[in-house]
């Protein structure tokens, strides 16, 4: 840290670069829309403010809904809630529908212009986001802890949002886009959840126990009764695991893969009962009676589908009546249909997608799906917002995601107070783990984020226990600021200098693929330095990220050619150099990057064109990876099915119904080191074979002094 001045933490909400989405800037976030004491900038449109200030507490007007959720939370619903297709349907089944429909909320679409832009892509989820914001602000009115955390009761008491989907469906005047969107949000999630991949079957109930325990961890403040209930549910889950047989499951809220038996559903029911009891003990005010019927629904549900033993069971064992319950009605109908379909194709091997069954399956994250997770209640609002923005893609790109995460953590640390009788380093670590798990649910971590988290955790764990809290927090904030400044910001600058030096003064034709922030910057800087060159921007479906690159380069006055990946073999002849970004560089020199990059590099290698990878060392990883199967990220398969602006291309319509068809949308691919001419880092240009040397140097410096610098 020696060489760097103490600098204030930079607030970067969404890097200005990646993704065409204009990120909300800090000022707009702060424009007086916050409720006093609200820890993070949350955006509350005027409509909602009015709503909240009217004081129509949801707990008063809407009776059933909060209770349904109450049972959820107090029962310790684990992560599975994320996939639960909405407690609404459970409520319906249990006969609450009329009450639920009485909830009158202003439909998000009618709200005033929002500071968060990006209407087409993230409308629904952002609408939801605002909803959260409004709720949170209400929460902060009602009972907000100074730490910016919301206690369980607070949120559970005033959460009308599980109704969101239903509200949307019930509003006939609601824009079609919304309705469709919300439907879409529901469906894929269910399908993925309810019909686990055959290959994943062995990993059954453990996830439940796991999840249950996680939920337990997150609820330190539970009453004794609640805790007992939780234990009971865990025991039940364990029993379920024995009968159902199973291995591990994704942590936090990783999609529950796994078929579970009726026993699992039973466990869910038991948990529900436990939850009820716990609630009776803990929070007597809102009547808790609803838990039981809901649990019953879960059981009935589980039994109804014992043959396919879908996710309803898993969700139930996930210990929540409300999580299991929603598998009712239309959703469950669709799910059941899909389940049947899933059963047939067992004769056919779907090898290409089965290979990827171990990865976190894609599921659309929405506010409502998150709110069904009881763990969400414990999540700091900055993290919530961050997670949603990861999920809807408005923060993308390795650097941007890492920066946004570090900033959110900074906020978390600032708002942190050590609970009585706890140790800061331990408690904060625990909390951080919880947040990280939440973020993973929203989108798998990138390598850079993983490195940053590891770094931060190391620092937290090495804080001496006798350090005063204020000092420790100061220290950590400074640590984060240093990390951002040194490893990301100034690293970027250095890297750009090195990279642009490799652009000839005259006559270069540079190929780049998709979008990389540093590559864009290097090219823009090179143009600014008076070099004359042409850029071939190569792009590919479905993300079409290259267009943002194109826009930026054109704005800088650089002549460009725009081609798609299919034109690679043609265009490579006129190219002199290839500049590529990377999501990560691994220690065997393998480069992990946006899917399609490896093909570009391979083509360039075959034509003897130098391939330069621009990657800061904070994205270096010690892992070794030989293929793009072991670690990867799955994108929305729906993105492959439709071509925007071309409705006549509809051959894949209803693909999910097809028994012998799966779509695979891989996000990254792996480029072997032999295709890489050099890796441009902030320390200069190194051959890919030297990546482990840099890693080693870092590890040594990490061990000896407080930081690598």
């Amino acid at each position: 840290m020696s060489g760097f001045q103490k600098q204030p933490v930079k607030q970067v909400v969404g890097f200005h670069v990646e993704g065409a989405t204009p990120s909300p800037t800090q000022p707009s976030l702060l424009q007086g829309t916050m409720t006093a004491g609200s820890p993070t900038p949350v955006i509350i449109p005027p409509t909602f403010q009015r709503e909240s200030s009217h004081g129509s507490r949801p707990s008063v007007t809407t009776d059933a809904a909060p209770r349904a959720l109450d049972s959820t939370t107090s029962g310790g619903v684990p992560a599975s809630g994320a996939q639960a297709p909405g407690p609404q349907q459970a409520a319906n089944e249990a006969g609450f529908a009329p009450v639920a429909s009485s909830v009158r909320a202003v439909p998000p679409s009618t709200s005033a212009p929002r500071p968060i832009q990006h209407p087409d892509k993230a409308e629904a989820s952002h609408a939801g986001l605002i909803k959260v914001a409004s709720q949170l602000s209400m929460a902060s009115e009602a009972s907000m802890t100074s730490s910016g955390m919301f206690s369980l009761e607070t949120t559970s008491r005033l959460t009308p949002s599980p109704h969101l989907p239903q509200q949307q469906q019930q509003q006939p005047a609601f824009p079609a886009a919304h309705a469709g969107n919300s439907a879409a949000q529901q469906q894929p999630a269910q399908q993925q959840h309810v019909h686990p991949h055959p290959a994943a079957q062995p990993q059954a109930g453990a996830s439940q126990a796991d999840a249950a325990s996680k939920a337990g961890k997150s609820q330190k403040e539970m009453t004794k009764a609640e805790r007992r209930a939780l234990q009971e549910s865990q025991r039940a889950a364990k029993a379920a695991q024995k009968t159902g047989g199973g291995g591990g499951g994704g942590g936090g809220g990783a999609p529950e893969k796994g078929k579970s038996s009726a026993a699992a559903a039973d466990a869910g029911a038991a948990a529900g009962r436990g939850g009820r009891g716990g609630q009776a003990g803990g929070d007597a005010k809102p009547s808790s009676s609803k838990a039981a019927p809901a649990a019953g629904a879960a059981r009935a549900d589980g039994e109804r589908r014992t043959d396919n033993a879908g996710g309803a069971g898993a969700a139930g064992a996930g210990a929540a009546a409300s999580a299991a319950g929603p598998a009712g009605e239309g959703a469950s109908g669709a799910a059941a249909a899909a389940a049947k379909k899933k059963k047939d194709p067992k004769a056919v091997s779907l090898n290409s997608t089965e290979l990827f069954a171990h990865l976190q399956q894609y599921k659309r994250i929405t506010v409502s799906s998150l709110l069904q997770q009881p763990a969400t209640a414990n999540i700091h609002s900055a993290i919530l917002q961050l997670g949603l923005r990861y999920a809807d893609g408005s923060i993308r790109g390795a650097n941007a995601r890492c920066l946004a995460m570090l900033n959110a953590f900074c906020q978390v640390i600032r708002d942190y107070t050590t609970p009585e009788g706890k140790e800061l380093s331990r408690d904060l670590l625990r909390q951080l783990n919880e947040y990280v798990n939440f973020l993973v649910v929203c989108r798998p971590l990138s390598v850079g984020m993983g490195n940053a988290i590891r770094h931060l955790k190391l620092r937290i764990s090495t804080i001496p226990p006798d350090t005063p809290e204020a000092e420790a927090k100061e220290l950590l904030e400074q640590e984060i600021a240093d990390y951002i400044n040194v490893r990301i910001d100034s690293a970027d600058k250095q890297l750009v200098n090195y990279a642009m030096a490799k652009v000839e003064a005259q006559g270069d034709v540079i190929l780049t693929f998709a979008a990389s922030h540093v590559v864009q910057r290097a090219l823009v800087e090179a143009a600014r330095a008076g070099k004359s060159f042409r850029v071939v921007v190569m792009d590919s479906r479905p993300e079409l990220e290259g267009r943002s690159t194109l826009a930026r380069l054109l704005a800088a006055g650089i002549p460009c050619t725009y081609v798609h990946l299919n034109a690679a073999s043609y265009i490579i002849r006129e190219v002199t150099k290839v500049f590529l970004g990377a999501a990560a560089v691994l220690s065997n020199g393998t480069v992990l990057s946006r899917a399609g990059t490896a093909a570009v590099a391979m083509m360039a290698h075959a034509h003897n064109k130098p391939v330069m990878i621009c990657c800061e060392t904070h994205k270096f990883n010690e892992r070794v990876q030989l293929d793009s199967i072991t670690h990867n990220e799955l994108g929305d398969p729906e993105a492959l099915a439709a071509v925007p602006g071309k409705p006549e291309i509809n051959a894949l319509e209803g693909w999910s119904e097809h028994p012998r068809l799966r779509l695979l949308n891989l996000k990254y691919d792996v480029m072997p080191a032999e295709y890489v001419t050099m890796v441009v880092t902030e320390f200069g240009m190194v051959p890919p074979t030297s990546v482990p040397v840099i890693l080693r140097e870092f590890r040594q410096s990490e061990q000896t002094v407080s930081g690598p610098f």
Partner: protein
């Protein structure tokens, strides 16, 4: 390794700066040329190191910052003497890095610190001078009896290596290319012949023809770049390709002061150095002539590098450089 004819002029311009830095630069340049003329076996880089050590000795700067500033200036002045010589540049950079890098800076007393720097400089110069012998000892083990070695142009370290192997009683023969346009291969052949080493001279264009009879290729280097590739006399790359095609090992003998912070992407990416070419009066007037004097051999073509740091794979060069510069 030709000396620049205009050294006198350079010395004059540097000398009449009349400030101390000018004098120091003057001293550096003069020392540099002295070192070169004292012994023709002294490499540019080693001479530069000696010159820079002399600068520290004469330095009147009161702070270490001042000393390093003076050193940098002097290094610049030295590089102006021969701007296209990569090993000179590399030597200067390495020296600056080596002397000013660490512990000397912690000493409070400027005089002690200077003494320390001088000590280091001398040590560096000494190891650099000894480097060739180290390489000869390490590299001669690669030769087997009755083998045939192909070499390109004149390289003092290769010559020393071959001498060492021959004096240890090994029987082998050497094939030397002619080394057009400056005929350095002929110089090499003469020196080898003087040592009684059997030597054959071939045309530069004969390399692929002769490759079948060769057991190994041994090359010197002007500079070793960051990825373990080398920059050397024109034709080296062609020989390396021929050797690769014929599956013959291609060894490089190079002192570690030739490790340069350069990363060429290809032949066009080299610092330019032009040498006059005598193509004769027969050339049609509209014909373009491209006459580079050196080329870049990528690491894929190189089997091993014999350096005074040990026998390295090309990838290990980058490791050494990272450890030095990171």
């Amino acid at each position: 390794m030709q000396r620049r004819p205009s050294q006198k002029a350079l010395v004059v311009t540097e000398g009449f700066g009349s400030n101390t830095q000018g004098t120091l630069n003057d001293i550096a340049v003069r020392e540099f040329h002295d070192a070169l003329s004292r012994d023709e076996d002294v490499a540019f880089a080693v001479a530069a190191i000696m010159a820079l050590t002399a600068v520290i000795k004469r330095s009147s700067a009161a702070t270490l910052m001042g000393v390093s500033k003076e050193l940098e200036d002097a290094a610049q002045a030295l590089q102006r003497v021969n701007p296209t010589n990569i090993s000179l540049k590399a030597g200067c950079e390495l020296f600056l890095r080596y002397t000013t890098r660490t512990s000397a800076l912690e000493l409070k007393d400027i005089e002690t610190a200077k003494a320390r720097l001088i000590e280091r400089g001398l040590h560096f110069a000494e190891t650099s001078t000894r480097a060739r012998q180290t390489i000869a000892e390490l590299g001669s083990r690669f030769l087997r009896s009755n083998c045939t070695v192909l070499t390109h142009g004149y390289s003092r370290v290769v010559l020393r290596l071959l001498q060492q192997a021959f004096s240890s009683g090994l029987q082998f023969s050497v094939i030397v290319t002619e080394g057009r346009p400056d005929g350095t291969g002929i110089t090499m052949a003469k020196k080898l012949d003087a040592e009684n080493i059997p030597v054959t001279l071939v045309l530069d264009s004969c390399v692929a023809y002769i490759m079948d009879r060769v057991d190994m290729v041994l090359s010197g280097a002007d500079a070793v770049v960051e990825n373990g590739g080398i920059i050397n006399k024109l034709g080296t790359y062609g020989i390396a390709l021929a050797a690769q095609a014929a599956s013959k090992p291609f060894y490089v003998a190079a002192e570690s002061y030739k490790f340069a912070r350069l990363y060429p992407l290809g032949q066009a990416d080299l610092p330019e150095e032009r040498k006059p070419l005598d193509v004769g009066p027969m050339l049609p007037s509209r014909t373009n002539v491209i006459n580079p004097s050196r080329d870049y051999t990528p690491p894929q073509c190189i089997s091993l590098l014999v350096t005074d740091l040990g026998v390295l794979t090309p990838a290990a060069v980058s490791d050494e450089l990272i450890q030095l510069y990171l």
